[in-house]
């Protein structure tokens, strides 16, 4: 099966590979996996607490070209959006942008899961932080 040019581009020149400080309260980390194919994807966002805008996003994915391209594209899509806008990102956008074939759609689903997991981690961290601040 041939990869589309866009997949190859992201695969050969992945954007935003790396990691952010997991302990930083501004950082949300999403770690998801697809056991059957062994893909593991870590996606992190750094949110400006004042504006709610995602200022940075990093990923590291162990998996096939489509999984790497999906998460690479996801980090690009995330930057500059608010957390709520980011929650609205659907895997179909990734499928269309990368022209993923049906057998690789699960890679885009994984990327969407990773985004949601990262946001949920960020919210949990800050929800908990806010509560502690109130009780203190």
């Amino acid at each position: 099966m041939a990869y589309s040019d866009k997949v190859l581009d992201h695969y050969n020149h992945p954007r935003n590979v790396g990691s952010l400080d997991k302990q930083d309260p501004q950082v949300g980390t999403g770690l998801v996996g697809a056991p059957e194919c062994g893909d593991v994807m870590k996606l992190q966002i750094k949110v400006n607490p004042a504006t709610g805008i995602i200022e940075d996003a990093k990923f590291k994915t162990f998996g096939c070209g489509s999984a790497i391209a999906s998460s690479s594209l996801a980090t690009e899509m995330l930057k500059g959006r608010t957390v709520d806008e980011a929650l609205a990102i659907k895997n179909t956008e990734i499928v269309n942008e990368l022209s993923l074939p049906p057998v690789k759609i699960h890679c885009s689903v994984l990327a969407e899961d990773a985004i949601k997991a990262a946001i949920s981690d960020y919210k949990t961290k800050n929800g908990v932080a806010a509560e502690t601040a109130q009780t203190a």
Binding site: L31, V32, G33, A34, P35, E36, G38, V40, K42, K60, F62, V109, L110, D113
Partner: protein, 213 residues
């Protein structure tokens, strides 16, 4: 398990499962592994007893014993011997046995979504992949870490196997209509987890041996 049928040779009803109790002709083999061995459908199996049955049935069913019998019996003995070997290979191994029971009960094995792997395991898998990456780039400094991870995965496997044994007993002691399904569901996810970790260990071994090669 009851297996009542008429003998293909003499037509007697209630012929018996292996050989007709009236005319002693070999009957069509029962494809179900438990029924074939004449064992109850339990997840815990006495493997000594299984082995005894395997040896005695091997002798009874061996195609060499049927060279002078009818073509039908010669064919049945080949089929039966083949089922016997498959059934023994599956039933003597607790994992394969459980997979067989699940599959026969209509459970899908081997299909799952991302959420099935617990988060704490994902962390380990991610760390493992990072370490393997570094190993591939020639950094032998990660070897102790890989050894340690491999050891932890093997411990997890041992823990899963111990838990499975308990679940097997729980399954076997429940009545057919009283919550066997619930236990089978638990066993299914334990098997998935087990396979996933097994794959991780295999991957570590593969990478380590290709490095030594």
């Amino acid at each position: 398990m009851d297996h009542e049928h008429n003998c293909w040779q003499c037509g007697s009803a209630d012929a018996g499962s292996l050989f007709c109790r009236y005319c002693n002709s070999l009957q069509a083999p029962i494809p179900d592994y438990y029924a074939f061995f004449g064992l109850p459908r339990t997840l815990s199996v006495d493997t000594d007893e299984l082995q005894n049955r395997f040896y005695s049935m091997s002798r009874l069913l061996h195609p060499d014993r049927f060279t002078r019998r009818s073509e039908q019996e010669r064919r049945y003995s080949l089929e039966a011997s083949s089922i016997l070997n498959d059934a023994y290979r599956v039933l003597r191994d607790p994992i394969r046995r459980a997979e067989y029971v699940l599959k026969e009960a209509g459970y899908e094995i081997g299909e799952q979504r991302s959420k099935d792997v617990p988060p704490e395991l994902l962390e380990e898998v991610f760390e493992l992949n990072m370490a393997l990456d570094e190993l591939r780039m020639g950094d032998d400094g990660v070897l102790p870490q890989l050894d340690e991870m491999r050891r932890r995965f093997l411990e997890m496997l041992a823990a899963i196997d111990a838990a499975l044994e308990t679940k097997f007993q729980r399954h076997d002691t429940r009545p057919d209509d009283g919550g066997k399904a619930e236990v089978l569901e638990e066993i299914k996810s334990a098997l998935h987890r087990r396979r996933y970790i097994r794959n991780l260990v295999n991957e570590v071994d593969r990478q380590l041996s290709s490095r030594n090669a």
